[in-house]
């Protein structure tokens, strides 16, 4: 827990939500029995996927453990989406082993993955903008009371649970009655995460949750990723931004052109190494030259990049 707190500090702090951190772990209404911290939930070994003659992914290995964040990094077209789809149950893998709780599986549908507690939060978040936050939170799985024609939504429970669950994730909403469209992108992302956690996720797959967000909002989302991890979930964090991955990640899996470039625990890697590996050292150097030519040697971007190259 103490190491986690240090990690969170690397993230741009968001003052609005700072006071809520002490609520972690006190509220976990719908949360399932989570496995012990560090226990392996998902293990993929030499997994691969081909669409006909096109090999989208091959020989990828990594693991997802309770209370840890596994980051999947890679540029566009590196195979991240294919890997997520396999993990989420949307596509079946064509080679290798996909082991959940020690049992090798072939998952045929997202529903099968959900039944195993593997929930995916996609970029479009599956929210209905014009509906209030509390209706969105329970959409599709609404609690009801009463019988027969009097069976109705348990609105009090829905509102209170929404507020409490969001607070447990550190989101302090003024009013759960506001349309979810009025929330910022980061907050919406967090509502989607909180919803997945409440409905029994043990493993949370986040598909580029920070891609469309500004610096501050990205920070907010990273903080909630840390929160989910602290609650004991295994998190798969897909991103192309090593600066977002490094602060919260426990292990990093790099993909390039459908192949794994390695699976590194955090202890074996510095941020600079990660950045360099992501972009490829030579490509970065070339970019540095190009930038200094077009922006001038004095420009801050060029200098920063040059400095980063020197540290390697």
């Amino acid at each position: 827990m103490s190491t986690n707190e240090e990690v969170v500090r690397d993230v741009p702090a968001d003052g609005d939500f700072g006071g809520a951190s002490d609520l972690t772990g006190t509220l976990s209404a719908g949360s399932p029995e989570l496995p012990a911290r560090g226990e392996t939930i998902i293990e993929v070994r030499d997994i691969g996927k081909s669409y006909g003659s096109v090999i989208a992914l091959r020989d990828v290995s990594t693991s997802v453990r309770a209370g840890e964040v596994t980051c999947v990094l890679g540029d566009n077209g590196a195979g991240k989406s294919t890997l997520i789809k396999i993990l989420a149950g949307a596509h079946e893998h064509t080679s290798g082993d996909f082991v959940v709780d020690g049992i090798s599986r072939h998952m045929s549908s997202p529903r099968a993955a959900l039944a195993l507690g593997i929930a995916t939060v996609y970029q479009d978040l599956a929210v209905v903008p014009l509906m209030p936050v509390w209706r969105n939170f329970f959409l599709g799985s609404e609690p009801t009371k009463g019988r027969g024609p009097l069976r109705r939504l348990d609105i009090d429970v829905m509102k209170q649970t929404t507020k409490a669950e969001l607070q447990a994730m550190g989101i302090d909403l003024r009013d759960v009655d506001q349309p979810i469209g009025t929330l910022s992108g980061g907050e919406r992302q967090c509502v989607a995460i909180a919803r997945a956690v409440f409905f029994g996720a043990r493993v949370l797959i986040l598909d580029e949750p920070t891609a469309a967000l500004g610096v501050r909002q990205s920070g907010v989302v990273l903080k909630y990723i840390a929160k989910a991890r602290d609650r004991g979930l295994g998190v798969v964090f897909i991103t192309h931004n090593p600066h977002h991955a490094y602060p919260v990640g426990d292990r990093f899996m790099l993909l390039r052109r459908g192949r794994s470039m390695g699976n590194f625990p955090k202890g074996e890697m510095t941020l600079d190494e990660l950045v360099a590996m992501m972009a490829g050292g030579t490509e970065l150097e070339a970019l540095s030259h190009e930038l200094s030519r077009s922006l001038g040697e004095e420009s801050s971007v060029a200098q920063q990049m040059a400095a980063e190259l020197r540290t390697k």
Binding site: L130, M131, L139, G140
Partner: protein
């Protein structure tokens, strides 16, 4: 799923302290039906002040009846529109169901309840057909139901001519069992108010019932939550497990059944039904729903608002007569109201979606 919610700290049950009182008022003012309520009051006041008969009990009886029949449809159509679809066949359904029951009773001597049930079955079948075709083909419901509308219009005329050699069913009061059906759909009560009698037809009670049930379903049940969701963001709704297909087909069946109800109300009140009954009304329902706060794009609206929209329609239609104006102005006024309502609704929507 687990409903064992945590016992929230007591202070959370209080409104958040950041919600000022004015904010709550503002939220009530943002409800979809508020605009229609204000407009209804203003229109009532205008005609009450400028004509001698509009606000008398006998004067009100007339516009209440129009509002009721249109209102039942507008409420059902508003649910469908919140669910993101249109039904242009809803008006022609009046004729289809009225003719079915009327011909069965008049020409074939069918039992009144069987005849009523038969037209209900026809209505449900057409509703299911509309819904399934829209969902299976992915075509806009505007086009699909436009097709159904023309088919019904043609069938109403052609089949009626084949079966009875006329284009209308009349003299239903001669048929066996008419009085039983009339009790349920065509009766009225008179309430003496201020020297004249307010005649309230069965249609008005049905209207109130339909509005109350629709509001309950929309705001308090799981199905209502799904209606908002399939209209607001269909893909998202599907991703979180909302049965999109069943919800939408159910909505098409609802408007069809509303059409059947009004078909019965008209048949048993007037004892006659024309082949063209209801044709041309389908846009009136949509206008009433939009005036009541429904977005044309779905996901937002209210059943009470649609009922108020129908009340406005009834009042304006009869108010023009009492004023001695040319009745043709009704459509011009409706057009202006529709445009105004759409502008207001879009403004409300953009406010609701704006990032704070």
């Amino acid at each position: 799923m687990s409903t064992a919610a945590p016992a929230a700290p007591p202070e959370q049950q209080e409104p958040d302290e950041r919600l000022a009182g004015s904010d709550r008022t503002a939220r009530i003012l943002r409800r979809p039906e508020v605009g229609a309520l204000v407009a209804a009051i203003a229109i009532f006041a205008f005609f009450a002040l400028t004509t001698p008969t509009f606000d008398t009990a006998s004067g009100a009886s007339t516009w209440l009846l129009t509002s009721s029949t249109v209102g039942i449809m507008a409420v059902a159509v508003s649910l469908l529109m919140i669910g993101g679809e249109f039904d242009l066949s809803a008006g022609a359904m009046w004729g289809t169901t009225g003719l079915t029951t009327g011909i069965l009773m008049n020409e074939y001597g069918a039992n009144v309840w069987l005849a009523i049930l038969a037209s209900l079955v026809v209505a449900v079948a057409i509703g299911v057909l509309n819904g399934v075709v829209v969902m299976r083909t992915g075509l806009p419901s505007f086009i699909v139901t436009l097709g159904t509308f023309f088919v019904l219009q043609g069938v109403n005329l052609a089949v009626t001519k084949i079966l009875i050699g006329q284009v209308a069913v009349s003299g239903l009061q001669e048929a066996d069992g008419y009085t039983a059906g009339q009790q349920l759909f065509g009766s009225f009560v008179t309430i003496p108010i201020g020297g004249s009698d307010l005649t309230v037809y069965a249609a008005t009670f049905w209207w109130i019932l339909v509005t109350a049930v629709a509001t309950w379903v929309l705001l308090r049940t799981q199905a209502g939550n799904w209606v908002f969701a399939v209209g607001g963001a269909q893909t998202s709704a599907r991703q979180v497990g909302v049965p999109v297909f069943a919800t939408k087909v159910g909505l098409f069946v609802t408007t069809a059944v509303a059409g059947w109800l009004v078909g019965m109300l008209l048949l048993f009140k007037t004892t006659t039904v024309q082949s063209v009954t209801g044709v041309g009304q389908e846009f009136i329902f949509i206008i009433c729903a939009v005036v009541g706060g429904c977005l044309l794009t779905g996901g937002y609206g209210s059943a009470v608002g649609a009922a108020l929209g129908a009340l406005i329609y009834g009042m304006v239609g009869q108010g023009i007569v009492y004023e001695g104006w040319d009745n043709d102005w009704l459509y011009a006024i409706l057009g202006v109201m529709l445009l105004g309502a759409v502008l207001v609704n879009n403004w409300v929507k953009s406010r609701a979606e704006a990032v704070r």
